[in-house]
């Protein structure tokens, strides 16, 4: 029942085209920077490829919570803590891309913002909180785990907020409904993310401490890019209603000012009504279109079958 609010993978059709394009611009920009910042050394490529598969598989691991529900992992923060945020962004990009392309989880046109939410926001927000949290909690040996937990939680909530914003700006949902709903649900889901992330880090730290060193200094490489990028992203997202086709805000203004009527008339007077009178009635037109549609499909079906039969009989000779 809560299906859509549990997933952050937006399907096609739920974001406006202009908003989707903005999303792609942001995604391409960030991923391009990530590819350069990471400077994919030879050694990095197999690591990132296998770890992308790891994150994908790790998302299958769950734990029962109550009454049939279970906690899951997205993995952005975990990847960021293990690999650094830029490499994590690449890892998550691969995960989101393959989920959409192979498993139909998340749309193609809207993938831009899906990437922003799950491949940019989760690793960077998670890592930022982890980074500063660790600095605050240096007095405690478990401090880094607490920082990681809060970071993981925050990353999920931030991604959910961004998702809600994108849906609202596209006119798919009312902000005053979708934002509290997304935040509320993901504040709980984020707890699952936090717990699994910490469990994984504890396991790794005990088994191979060389891979996760809580004492290691945090590389500051590229942090100015992050700040600049996030600022740009915020500004662009807030401005995209101007590009959005959502009729609520903008059209209202246009109508009031009388622009709308003039805009509509111009190029489409080519075929006057009287030539096709039946089409004037909306219901009739839709039904007619439906009948035409079915006829087309039937013809194609019959034609394809006939062609195939002829091809098969020719092959049999």
């Amino acid at each position: 029942m809560f299906g859509p609010f549990l997933a952050l993978h937006i399907p096609d059709g739920f974001l406006d085209i202009p908003v989707s394009l903005v999303g792609w611009l942001l995604a391409v920009m960030f991923i391009g920077i990530a590819l350069r910042e990471m400077r994919p050394a030879e050694r990095e490529v197999p690591l990132i490829g296998t770890l992308a598969a790891f994150i994908f598989a790790a998302q299958m691991i769950n734990f029962p919570v109550a009454g049939g529900t279970s906690g899951h992992l997205i993995g952005g923060t975990l990847a960021a803590i293990l690999l650094g945020p830029w490499a994590a962004a690449i890892v998550m990009t691969c995960v989101v891309a393959i989920q959409a392309l192979i498993f139909q989880d998340g749309g193609l046109i809207v993938m831009g913002f899906n990437l922003v939410n799950m491949a940019i926001i989760t690793p960077f927000v998670g890592y930022a909180v982890y980074h500063w949290g660790r600095k605050l909690l240096t007095h405690s040996t478990r401090g880094w785990l607490v920082a990681a937990a809060v970071g993981a939680w925050a990353s999920v909530v931030a991604a959910a907020a961004a998702c809600a914003l994108q849906l609202a700006v596209s006119g798919t949902s009312a902000l005053k409904v979708v934002l509290p709903a997304m935040l509320g649900v993901h504040a709980v889901i984020g707890l699952g993310e936090a717990l699994i992330t910490v469990g994984a880090l504890a396991f790794i730290q005990q088994t191979r401490p060389d891979l996760v060193d809580p004492e290691a200094p945090v590389p500051a490489r590229g942090s100015s890019w992050i700040a600049a990028g996030l600022a740009v992203a915020l500004v662009v997202t807030l401005l995209s209603p101007l590009a959005s086709a959502s009729p609520d805000g903008l059209e209202r203004v246009a109508e009031d000012q009388g622009f709308l009527e003039t805009a509509r008339d111009a190029p489409y007077e080519i075929i006057p009504d009287y030539l096709i009178p039946a089409i004037d009635n909306e219901a009739v037109a839709t039904i007619a279109a439906g009948v035409i549609g079915v006829a087309v499909v039937a013809t194609v079906g019959y034609g394809t079958a006939a062609l195939r039969k002829r091809r098969d009989s020719r092959a049999a000779q």
Binding site: A202, F203, Q206, T207, R208
Partner: protein, 240 residues
């Protein structure tokens, strides 16, 4: 005890891709029996084992364990009665330390901490790894991991042991010591799925030959496993 340890009747299972893995399987295993399940790759051995503790659910037919039919209500108890290990020990050790992995079963059953500790100690002793409690599972050798995996199910005090390829990947010495270890579990019902015909011969009194999802032979291990014709026909070999 007048009921069978495991009673399978007309079990069939088809994978989502259409492949019929089990075709009308019926099997009766008495308490304390040691049964070897042999057959070529793809014969359905692993699929059959996964039905015994409800990881896979029968599409037709029934599975009855210790007199209880396997349903949503009984699945929890049945999983405590059946200790199942899998071919790859790396898939079964998911805690940092051995102690935590062995404690998982009893903890899940809701036992008290003192009882859990006792069980862990017993289980590790039973597999000869008493000093390994605080070791990191990940760093152990394959043989040691297989023993720990066995300990993780022994700690639940199961009446039935189901082992999927227990000796695969072991060097001769580790293999020998595991076989000797398994021979000590005289009171438990044991079902071993294996390619290691020698193990089957040494450990088990009964052999069930599975091929293409069907039981093609079921009888004394001594007779079946030395039947060169039968073994050859189903992609297997005799013990020597």
């Amino acid at each position: 005890m007048d009921h069978a340890a495991i009673e399978i009747a007309n079990l069939s299972f088809r994978y989502p891709d259409g492949h019929l893995a089990l075709d009308d399987i019926s099997l009766h295993i008495a308490p304390g029996e040691k049964v070897a399940l042999v057959g070529p790759n793809g014969s359905g051995k692993s699929t059959l084992l996964l039905h015994l503790n409800g990881v896979l659910r029968a599409q037709s037919g029934t599975v009855v364990v210790e007199g209880e039919p396997l349903t949503d209500a009984t699945i929890g108890r049945i999983r405590a009665w059946i200790g199942m290990t899998f071919q790859n020990p790396d898939d079964q050790l998911f805690s940092p330390r051995v102690r935590q992995d062995v404690a998982f079963g009893p903890l899940h059953m809701g036992l008290q901490e003192a009882e859990v500790d006792a069980r862990v100690t017993q289980a590790l002793a039973a597999v000869g790894l008493s000093d390994f409690a605080d070791r990191i599972s990940f760093h152990l050798s394959v043989g040691e991991k297989k023993r720990v995996a066995l300990a993780t199910v022994l700690s639940m005090a199961p009446r039935i042991l189901v082992l999927d390829e227990p000796t695969s990947g072991l060097d001769p010495r580790a293999r020998r010591s595991l076989i000797e270890l398994l021979k000590t579990f005289t009171d438990k019902t044991i079902v071993v799925s294996t390619h290691d015909i020698r193990l089957a011969y040494e450990l088990c009194s009964r052999a069930v030959v599975l091929d293409s999802g069907r039981v093609v032979a079921d009888g004394p291990a001594e007779r079946l496993l030395t039947d060169a014709d039968l073994m050859e026909r189903h992609g297997l070999e005799t013990p020597w």
